[in-house]
Amino acid sequence: MTQEIVKYACPYCDQPLETRAALKTHLETAHPAVPVWGREVYPPPKREAFIDADVMKCTGCGLCAEACSMQHFGVINKDFARIYVRNFLLPLPKAIVVTCCQCQAEERPCEKACPITPPAIHFDEKTLHMVIDRDRCSGCLLCQEACGTEAIRFNPDASDKPLVCDLCDTGNTGERNPRCVRICPTTALYYHNRAERIRPLRDSSRKSADEKAVMVARRLYPLTRESIAYPPWRP
């Protein structure tokens, strides 16, 4: 493993703590919480971090994607975004948000699929997020095909290179601050320190939207009406 596993860590300062009680005491003394209506604003975590999505909380407003395109391109276009929402009819409408989870080194199929050595798409160990080296990337889109989450997007109108989540560190200076997490009105998105998770990363984060839709739809079955066609969407 490329990272240590810490049982509890302070979301504000990443200080490792042994017990839940110690974390509580630490939070109360060192960081009195700043409540904002309906949400808590945490400072961004310091080490490897990723955007985690609670699919059941997502209502499909798409503000995350709009925040992403505003941050990277200065316009509102959900197709220019690195995070996006897919809409399923299961047969009830369900929105499923898709985002890059900044896989740990053992995973990262995009990096492995890159035909260029060293890979043009890689995890930057200094700034702690995925980057695409625009000078070397040939735009072959093998990374997009390899990603099981379908988190890498490509839109020729936005860029001739694929788009990957850089945690809103557009200048690659290490200032990560994902705007999608800030804007999400239903708090379906979390910006986690990877070390604060007990396991490095759940495999469920790497499921595709189609697979997630199948899982969500299980709670609706058996449906008896003849008209129910999905899931799965793809034959």
Binding site: T59, L63, E66, V75, L92, P93, P185, L220, A229, Y230
Partner: protein
């Protein structure tokens, strides 16, 4: 500041041609949505056109600020239900996709296709495609099939607006729906689709949104999404009960009709609780694109006699359960079938409650109903009748499918006293008109079904707008602020007021042109004056004729700014630049 251009996609199903028209000047004058729709009806539909003929138009209207305060689409057409101006609004993905395809004035559909078709719009690609295999299919099957087919073809998820058997069979109150939970219901829009042989409209856009200043728009969106007022609404109100939020107060204080308007409270009301519904059957919350206080609470219910899914809206489906003496248990199941057949829940439930009343009083017989023993609140009988209405089987169901006026003619004068409907040939399924503290009697008794008001014209969602009012102020101020950022047009508060007034007059003028007259067609049913009702806490209410005439006059003059007879004043029409309607309406004697 840069100003936007407003594009309207015009599709003619007869000639199978399409073109993009620049309607910027019209939208500046009338705003988008039903405002532009009224203008299109006036210009393109000749006086006296049959709403179900190819001469009618169908405008799927959006506007410059669609998607900023909820995502609404306001559709305009000549209504088959009334014959006058018609308007139906719908939320959901379709509005967002229209904006992203940069058709920011919407789609205008004209003519009639020779065989069943659906309209495919993918950015620049506009195609009229064969839908013969889908004709006759239920709504969910239609939408699922089309979305799946287009996903496989283009890799994109399309926004849809489809009709079911109701629209195909030209039921006068058929609706068009989207995503199983959204529906455009008023005025019989589904029958207009059906008369054009148009099964569905599928739209997808992938372009940058047509805003004048993206930074300004984004600041507004961010303020709205992160504001405490939005959080409160999302967490405590819409986010939990959806539109059922106010049900309990409405039912207890006599805001709803029961037993076809014979009472305004009944113990069955206790079975219609949004709280029970939420705890028992809600599966998750769903919202429209861009909305930070999502209010759709889809439910799923698995029972020994079948699985049911859908969404209960307070007005359309819950408000009417009392009329036919049903609790949510029955309504959930009937609602599932309604959503498959594609008819307006409010009207069809009102008509079915009326049929129950007529059956009880011996005005229609079991043979008329095709052998159905139609008892109050009987779920199975209601489901059976619903199918018969949509497929027009049997004497009584076929008459009901033509709407109130026609059905009264068929059932005879005795049936009229029981008919619980009002001005726009529309069932009074929600909002008891006698209960004066709710003030809905005036709205029932003066409306004509046409598209009016700032909300429909600017395509703002009233449900999403409550926090917006707290942040930016009254609706005019909200519209002004958002239009300035999104379109680059600096309108003043007074200009917005004038636009609203212009739209209101305009839709009334269209209705007047098509034969509507307030003295003939604006009424409350006779029973509202003869039969008093009592709410749960013992408050009795009924209208007297004098009281009603007084209230109606005041409403015309003070709220609608009409003359005491409910006609648009000539001077105001001239002031607002609507003088071109005067030569048409003058000979008919309908100007104030």
């Amino acid at each position: 500041m840069a100003e936007i251009k407003v594009n309207l996609l015009e599709v003619d199903l007869t000639t199978e041609r399409s073109q993009v028209v620049d309607v910027t000047d019209d939208v500046k004058t009338y705003l988008g949505g039903c405002g532009l729709g009224n203008k299109l009806i006036w210009d393109l539909v000749p006086q006296g056109t049959d709403p179900l003929s190819p001469g009618n138009i169908l405008h799927i209207g959006v506007g410059p600020i669609t998607g900023l305060i909820g995502t609404k689409v306001s559709c305009s057409f000549l209504s088959p239900l009334t014959g006058w101006a018609g308007e139906a609004s719908i939320s959901g993905c379709i509005g967002d996709e229209l904006m992203r395809a940069n058709y920011n004035a919407g789609i205008l559909v004209r003519g009639r296709a020779r065989k069943p078709v659906y309209l495919f719009v993918y950015n620049d690609r506009v195609e009229i495609r064969d839908a013969s295999d889908l004709w006759g299919q239920y709504l969910l099957k239609t939408e699922n099939t089309l979305r799946k087919r287009l996903y496989e073809e283009t890799g994109q998820e399309f926004g849809a607006l489809c009709i079911g058997p109701g629209g195909e069979n030209l039921v006068r109150f058929a609706n068009a729906t989207s995503e199983n939970v959204h529906s455009a219901s008023n005025g019989g829009i589904g029958a207009v689709f059906g008369s054009k042989n148009l099964k569905a409209i599928m739209v997808k856009g992938t372009r940058t949104l047509p805003y004048a200043d993206h930074n300004k728009v984004w600041q507004l969106k961010k303020t709205y999404a992160m504001h405490p007022a939005t959080m409160v609404q999302k967490l405590s109100e819409w986010g939990r009960y959806g539109a059922n939020d106010g049900m309990r107060a409405l039912l207890n204080y006599g805001g709803d009709s029961f037993k076809n308007g014979h009472s305004s409270w009944d113990p069955v009301a206790d079975k219609s609780d949004g709280y029970i519904h939420e705890l028992s059957y809600r599966v998750w919350t769903h919202g429209c694109p861009g909305c930070a206080s999502p209010c759709f609470q889809p439910f799923f219910k698995n029972t020994p006699h079948g699985a049911f899914s859908g969404e209960l809206r307070h007005g359309n489906t819950c408000g009417l359960c009392g009329n036919a003496m049903m609790g949510f248990d029955e309504v959930e199941e009937i609602n599932s079938l309604l959503e498959e057949l594609g008819v307006d829940a409010e009207n069809v439930q009102g008509l079915m409650a009326w049929a129950m009343d007529l059956y009880e009083n011996g005005i229609i017989t079991r043979a008329d109903l095709g052998g159905i023993d139609l008892k109050w609140g009987d779920r199975d009988a209601t489901l059976e009748l619903l199918k018969k209405i949509v497929y027009k089987e049997g004497r009584a169901p076929a008459a009901l499918a033509e709407g109130w006026r026609h059905a009264i003619d068929v059932f005879g004068p005795r049936s009229k006293w029981y008919a619980w409907y009002s001005s726009a040939n529309q069932a009074i399924a929600r909002y008891e008109p006698r209960s004066k503290q709710h003030g809905m009697g005036l709205s029932h008794g003066t409306g004509h079904g046409g598209g009016n008001g700032l909300f429909d014209a600017a395509t703002m969602c009233l449900f999403a707008a409550f926090p917006v009012f707290e942040i930016w102020g009254p609706p005019q101020e909200v519209a002004r602020t958002f239009i300035a950022a999104a379109a680059g047009w600096e309108l003043s508060f007074e200009q917005i007021n004038d636009i609203t007034q212009r739209i209101n007059y305009f839709s009334r003028c269209i209705s007047l042109r098509e034969g509507f007259h307030p003295e003939k067609h604006s009424f409350l049913p006779q029973r509202a004056f003869e039969e008093s009702v009592t709410n749960k806490y013992g408050t009795t209410s009924v209208w007297t004729r004098e009281e009603w005439e007084e209230a109606r006059k005041n409403y015309y003059v003070q709220v609608l700014k009409l003359t005491e007879r409910g006609l648009p004043p000539r001077g105001e029409l001239q002031r607002l630049g609507l003088d071109f309607v005067i030569p048409v309406l003058e000979p008919m004697g309908v100007l104030g």
